[in-house]
Structures are given as C-alpha cells and as structure tokens.
C-alpha cells in the first residue's frame, strides 16, 4: 500500500498521471455529450471513435496511476479536521472508482451494441459482450449515472483545490503542480 510519508509534494510521475487524466477527462466529457446528440453520420461515428479511443486511454492511464499510487510514497493529506480528511479520502476513492467505471461501462455499451472499433484507427478493441440490447441499455444507464456523478465530484474536487489555494492559502494545489 501507499505509504503516507512526510513528502512536501507529489512525485513527478504522480503529477504527470494526475494532469494527463485531468486533460483527457476535460476533452472526453464534452466530446461524449457532443457526439451523442449528433444525427447518425460519418462525423458522429468519427467522434465516437475518438471518444472510445480517449476512454480506453484514460482506463489504461488510471490503472497505471493506481498501481503507481499503491507502490509509491504519497504526501500526507492536507486537512484540518478528521472529518475533512475522511471526506477527502472518500471523494478520491469515488473519483478513482468513476474513472474506472466510465470507460468500462462505455466499453460494454460499444460491445453490446455490436459496434466493433479500432482505437485511434489502429488497434482493434475486443468485445467484452456479445450483441445484447438489455446489456447495452443497462450499461448506458450506468455510463450516464457515472458521468453525472463525475461532473458533480469534479466540481467538488476543483472547488476544494481552489479553496485550499485561495482561501486557506496552503500547498494543496501547488504540491500537485510541477
């Protein structure tokens, strides 16, 4: 497990993982909402190939990030009270959970909808389900519930970072920057 050492800041690899996932998620969410409302056209299909490609990239990065987090030493949480600490830990756990659940449920939608896909027009993505309408509908519900939860928790996450940076004037944000 991750050791909570008295490091001042995150390791450069942790920072890289954090900002790469952040950047990809900020492209991915609007892309998903944009693509789903397009009428069926080659453009829509291209946008979904991007969405699926970025989603699988996020899944890969998040898995590597979790493995790194488990094996590395991470700084102690900056939190004044035990309840703040517990909330922060829970929020981060939910963030990781959603970052896994979103690409996995998306992968399931794509497979159950019988849409084969080559990620970045190069790598064929294997199907994790046969064509199945009810699986597709269930996975879609999960995907939507997860993205709404992710948006909410990202607002809290960014809000908390800004609160630490601007109001509390501590190092919470700075120690995640390079």
């Amino acid at each position: 497990m991750a050791k909570k050492g008295d490091l001042d800041e995150w390791s450069w690899l942790s920072k890289l993982f954090h900002w790469v996932t952040a950047g990809l998620i900020f492209i991915q969410i609007p892309l998903g909402f944009y693509a789903k409302d397009l009428k069926l056209s080659p453009l829509k299909i291209d946008m979904f190939i991007w969405h699926k490609s970025i989603g699988m990239l996020i899944l890969l990065v998040v898995i590597m990030r979790l493995l790194w987090r488990i094996r590395s030493t991470i700084p102690l949480p900056i939190a004044a009270t035990a309840i703040e600490k517990a909330l922060a830990t829970a929020a981060h756990a939910v963030l990781y959970g959603l970052m896994l659940a979103l690409p996995l449920s998306g992968w399931l939608i794509s497979s159950a909808a019988n849409f084969p896909v080559k990620l970045f027009w190069l790598i064929p993505l294997p199907a994790i389900s046969g064509p199945d309408e009810s699986v597709k509908l269930l996975a879609t519900e999960i995907h939507i519930a997860c993205v709404i939860s992710l948006i909410c928790i990202l607002i809290v996450h960014i809000g908390a970072a800004l609160r630490h940076h601007i109001l509390l004037k501590d190092d919470a944000l700075k120690r995640m920057w390079f």
Binding site: L40, S41, P42, L43, I45, D46, I49, A113, N114, F115, P116, V117, K118, W121, P124, P131, E133, K136
Partner: protein, 198 residues
C-alpha cells in the same frame, strides 16, 4: 365403326397426354425453403472490422428437371427483417440512405441460367447466373452454390458471394465512400429446401 375408331383414338391421345403430364409433374420437382432451417447472413465492415448481419425473413424456391438437375432458382428477401444485432444499427439501415425499405421492401433474385460446375448422385455445384433486384436497382450477379441431398425430399443449398453495396445504392450521401463502412459485403446462405410436389 369409323366413329368408334375416331373416339378411341381421341381417348388414347388424351390419355397419353395426361400420362405425360402426370409423369412430368412427378419427375420435375419444385422445392421450397424451410424458414426454420435456413440462414441468410451478411458481413459488412466498419473500420475494416467485420459486422455481422442476417435477414430473418426470406424465401427460396427452386425447380429441378427429371434428372434432378437444378433449372430455376428464385429468392425473395424481406428487407425489413435485416438484423445487425443492435436496435440502433437496425433502425439506421432501414433509412433512405441505406436499404430504404419503405420504398423497396423486397430484394429479388431470379436465375436466368444455371451453370453446372460438377455433379454426382447426391451433390452438385452450380453457379446461378441471374439478376438481383435490390433497392430498385437491377444487377447481374453470379451465385456459386452447392446442392446436397439430405434425403429424398430434402436438400441443403449453400454458398457465398461478395456484393458491392455501391452497385445497389446502399449507403449513399455521406456514406458513399467506403472509408468507414466498406463497400464490399460478404453474403452467405445455407438453406434447407423441401420437395413441394402436390
């Protein structure tokens, strides 16, 4: 006396005619597909990856002569029965850009010439040359098929061929380029035919 002979002759000719008709209808057979034991499938491609589809409703009628040589093959396919394993794709392929099943509900293949490639007592290979009418467009196609006796009153015909969807205007407008959705579509069938002589 003369009158009697005339009547007898007429009767004899009539009986001979009937006999020939009966004889022919026994030996020249018609065959009809059995919906439960038949498959008509196609493989389209998307990003070069295969997507499978099938037609759930279609019928095949065939005729053979006295020597059970295939002489005629007719196929009707109900386009709205196309199933590609996804409600989204299934709806999309029925639209005007694709099959336009609202205006063209059936595809029809009619053989014009049956070429025998090889033939033994129970098995044969043919090439059915004929015309395929699909989405209102007619094109000559050649359908290679095997014919296997499955018992005296049952045969299975099977084969596969590749069609170019652009020959039939399937996937027009933005879809016309084969870049995303390939132009070549592999079609395969395995159809059980039952003898239907009255």
């Amino acid at each position: 006396m003369l009158l009697m002979k005339m009547r007898e002759k007429c009767l004899a000719i009539l009986m001979a005619l009937f006999g020939t008709l009966i004889y022919q209808s026994v030996l020249a057979d018609s065959w009809q597909s059995s919906a439960l034991s038949s498959d008509l499938e196609f493989i389209a491609s998307y990003q070069g990856l295969p997507i499978n589809g099938r037609f759930n409703r279609f019928s095949v009628a065939a005729n053979t002569d006295q020597a059970t040589q295939l002489t005629q093959l007719d196929v009707r396919v109900f386009i709205s029965s196309a199933d590609m394993g996804s409600s989204e794709i299934n709806q999309a392929i029925q639209t005007t850009d694709w099959f336009n099943s609202g205006d063209f509900s059936e595809a029809i293949f009619t053989s014009q010439h049956l070429e025998t490639v090889s033939r033994t007592e129970n098995n044969a290979e043919y090439i059915a040359h004929g015309e395929l009418q699909l989405k209102g467009l007619k094109n000559s196609i050649a359908v290679p098929l095997s014919w296997k006796n499955n018992g005296s009153d049952q045969v299975v015909i099977a084969g596969e061929l590749t069609l170019d969807r652009s020959d039939f205007g399937i996937g027009i407008g933005d879809w016309a380029s084969g870049e995303q959705i390939g132009l070549a579509v592999r079609v395969s069938f395995a159809v059980q035919l039952d003898r239907t002589n009255e």
